[in-house]
């Protein structure tokens, strides 16, 4: 959809409108306060530089990606809550969509394998996977353990991977993924490639000993690694302040001499911008960057306890949490700064699409996701004997359960 550049968004300051793309965005950035929701929208006002290379198409794409992640989650949550035959599960990412989206929009997500940027994910992978461009129907099938799923039903949620789009995969363990990602970055540098490796890791990962290995070696060896710390305040039921002495985890990274920034993880353009700087630097041989995105998840740590079919988020105390839990009003407060809303408002306020078209896009995405679930959940179950395959590149291992 064409954007009417002669129609600047409402202004709170008296500044001349500009028809140059760059100027327009600067202006748009400056007007953020006008469209903020509830709290001062640092997100839209403090852009470190205008997202000068963001075409309308890219902005719409990012909105669509955020919606895909959101509706994949909501649909899956509804399945979990109301379809007794559904066997999948998830560590929901709802609330954090702008992080994966803003970062991955900077990456090479298709093309020959040896050109792709690699994304390493965590136990909370479906948002990262969608942002990196995996086939959603196949992921849906995978999460319900179907033979034609993205990983043949071997992996399921916490272990999905799609090398074809450079999604190196989920890693269910806290600790190893960032170190392994740094190894990919090491390989890129060794072979003179301008690929970059990105790892998404939670605030919980900070305490793992691997955190030090990752950052120290990334710095020492000048690796094209982007460490995206999604600080959603909690690891499982514990607040991050219980295991981290820093208010900003980025402080820890800065100590190594690594460029480290914190960013409002709810605003996709802001995330995009800091990620762009990081990716550009890494591609140019400038070494690692640490990005801490301040964000929040709307569901509890795992699954859908506390959630209601048809509604976004989980409320009430997490029944799985015994001695620690997060306050319900904290969840509701964060939902006021929803990444979907913010992305939509950016599009509308910047005049890229109008509200009707934005709603239409959301309906398109909903339909796409519904179709993905329909396809995914109609796929065949796995063949038991296939469990003996893929241990090694060739052959099968012997069955041993029969004695």
């Amino acid at each position: 959809m064409a954007r009417d550049t002669t129609h600047p968004p409402q202004q709170t300051e008296d500044r001349p409108a500009s028809t140059s793309r760059r100027g327009f965005l600067q202006l748009a950035a400056a007007t953020g306060a006008a469209i903020s929701v509830g709290r001062s929208a640092k997100a839209l006002t403090d852009l470190p530089y205008p997202a000068g290379d963001l075409t309308d198409e890219k902005l719409v794409d990012m909105y669509r990606t955020i919606l895909r992640i959101r509706w994949h989650e909501r649909t899956q949550a509804d399945e979990m809550l109301s379809n007794p035959d559904y066997r999948g599960y998830n560590h929901f990412y709802a609330g954090q969509e702008a992080v994966a989206t803003g970062v991955c929009a900077n990456l090479r997500n298709s093309g020959p394998r040896n050109q792709l940027d690699l994304v390493y994910s965590s136990h909370r992978p479906s948002g990262h996977a969608i942002a990196k461009g995996v086939d959603i129907p196949k992921m849906v099938a995978e999460m319900d353990f179907r033979a034609t799923g993205m990983n043949g039903g071997y992996g399921a949620e916490m272990h999905i991977a799609d090398p074809d789009v450079g999604f190196a995969g989920a890693d269910g363990m806290i600790g190893p993924a960032p170190v392994i990602a740094s190894g990919s970055a090491f390989a890129f540098r060794a072979r003179g490639s301008d690929q970059v490796a990105v790892v998404f890791a939670g605030d919980g990962n900070y305490a793992a000993p691997h955190f030090h290995s990752t950052l120290n070696n990334a710095k020492i060896l000048d690796l094209p690694l982007i460490y995206v710390c999604e600080n959603n305040l909690y690891h499982q039921y514990a607040h991050y302040s219980l295991s981290c002495p820093h208010e900003d985890i980025a402080t820890a990274a800065a100590a190594y001499g690594i460029p480290a920034v914190t960013v409002d993880g709810q605003n996709v353009v802001e995330v995009y911008n800091v990620a762009k700087e990081a990716v550009d630097r890494a591609r140019a041989g400038g070494g690692p960057t640490f990005i801490e995105a301040k964000t929040y998840r709307y569901y509890n740590h795992w699954g859908a306890p506390g959630a209601t079919a048809g509604e976004l988020g989980a409320f009430g105390y997490d029944p799985l949490a015994i001695t620690h839990f997060r306050p319900e009003k904290e969840v509701r407060a964060w939902m006021q700064r929803d990444p979907v809303d913010i992305a939509r408002r950016i599009l509308v306020e910047w005049g890229i699409v109008d509200a009707a078209r934005a709603a239409e896009i959301e309906e398109e995405v909903k339909a796409e996701i519904a179709a993905a679930f329909e396809w995914g959940l109609s796929q065949p179950f796995c063949t038991p004997e296939d469990g003996l395959k893929h241990v090694f590149a060739e052959g099968t291992v012997p069955a041993r359960q029969f004695g």
């Binding site: 071997y154 272990h159 806290i174 499982q236 001695t323 003996l388 041993r400 359960q401």
Partner: protein, 322 residues
């Protein structure tokens, strides 16, 4: 005496020992030391003993496992609960530090610590990295560490008392799938030894040896085999290192037929050791081994449940031996 769940029984033992010894500490990560049981008071070690003695750390099993070693060397009995996802994070420090400490110091250092290490592989759908029932083999090869794996709430409590009172470091494997078991468990403290197997059923035709999460399936299979007229002897290893060779050898000397059952991977599963000890000591034994194939556990329940040894597999393998 009351019907108690596994975790309640274990925490009863821990609570008792912590009351006895004000220096004792407990380190956990995401499994709070809290349990309730019908008709019994809630146990919450964190609130009872306070956050200086009962600590919830970050996600750093290496620290947890190492910290209890240091506490032990400082003369404080100490235990930590390592969730299954981190089951091998502490491996090196147990293998190359803790297990060697007493010996390398000529007996001058003591490490009176317990690592409760969760094992899983009981939940279909949790595959790959989240489904490991393999630590039994890794940890039982370590000298200087007692590696045990109880299979009932009664043993779980008694072995926890014994582990916490032991001057030796103990890897106490906890097959998380057994958390649903309940049985009559005494309220008072008692010990179940850390180096004795249990004969769960006596018989003369065939010896079945298993441990931990393998036991419920073995007992079910043994019932069925008994129903078919076979006289089956069932041994629950309980102690993986030091293994109770005598109980195995006595049984096999009688039955001359040995079936081992493990949820661990086939190659070097505990059953391999059982078989080797049996045939080193008794001639003319016929053996079979049931185990998880040498493949990571797939997430798909169809694949996983087919691969994990269950009662049907055990009955069939037993029939082939009888």
């Amino acid at each position: 005496m009351a019907i108690k769940s596994w975790m309640y029984s274990v925490l009863e033992a821990v609570q008792h020992e912590m009351r006895e010894d004000p220096a004792m500490t407990w380190i956990f990560e995401l499994t709070p030391p809290v349990a309730s049981n019908p008709g019994k008071p809630v146990i919450n070690l964190e609130t009872e003993f306070g956050r200086k003695r009962v600590v919830n750390t970050g996600i750093d099993e290496s620290w947890m496992a190492s910290a209890v070693i240091g506490a032990g060397l400082a003369g404080s009995k100490s235990a930590t609960y390592i969730p299954y996802q981190g089951a091998c994070m502490p491996f090196q420090v147990i293998q190359n530090v803790a297990g060697k400490l007493r010996h390398k110091t000529g007996g001058r250092a003591a490490v009176p610590v317990v690592w409760i290490i969760e094992m899983t592989g009981q939940t279909p759908g949790f595959g790959g990295q989240h489904s490991c029932y393999e630590e039994d083999s890794y940890y039982m090869h370590i000298p200087g560490v007692r590696t045990v794996v109880p299979s009932t709430p009664y043993d779980a409590k008694g072995m926890m008392h014994a582990a916490l009172r032991s001057p030796d470091p103990v890897v106490y494997l906890y097959p998380a799938g057994l958390r649903t078991l309940t049985e009559e468990v005494p309220d008072e403290a008692y010990e179940v030894p850390l180096d004795k197997a249990a004969v769960r059923m006596e018989g003369s035709d065939l010896t079945i040896v298993s441990s931990g999460a393998g036991m419920p399936g073995v007992l079910e299979a043994a019932e069925r085999l008994t129903g078919e007229g076979a006289s089956v002897e069932v041994i629950d290893l309980r102690a993986l290192n030091q293994m109770d060779t005598e109980t195995i050898v006595n049984s096999v000397a009688k039955t001359k037929r040995l079936l081992t059952v493990d949820q661990s991977y086939y190659t070097l599963c505990p059953g391999a050791e059982v078989i080797a000890r049996a045939v080193e000591n008794v001639d003319g034994v016929r053996v079979k081994r049931v185990a998880f194939p040498d493949a990571p556990p797939p997430a798909s329940p169809e694949m996983f449940l087919w691969m994990r040894p269950g009662p049907d597999n055990i009955v069939e393998a037993a029939r082939a031996l009888l």
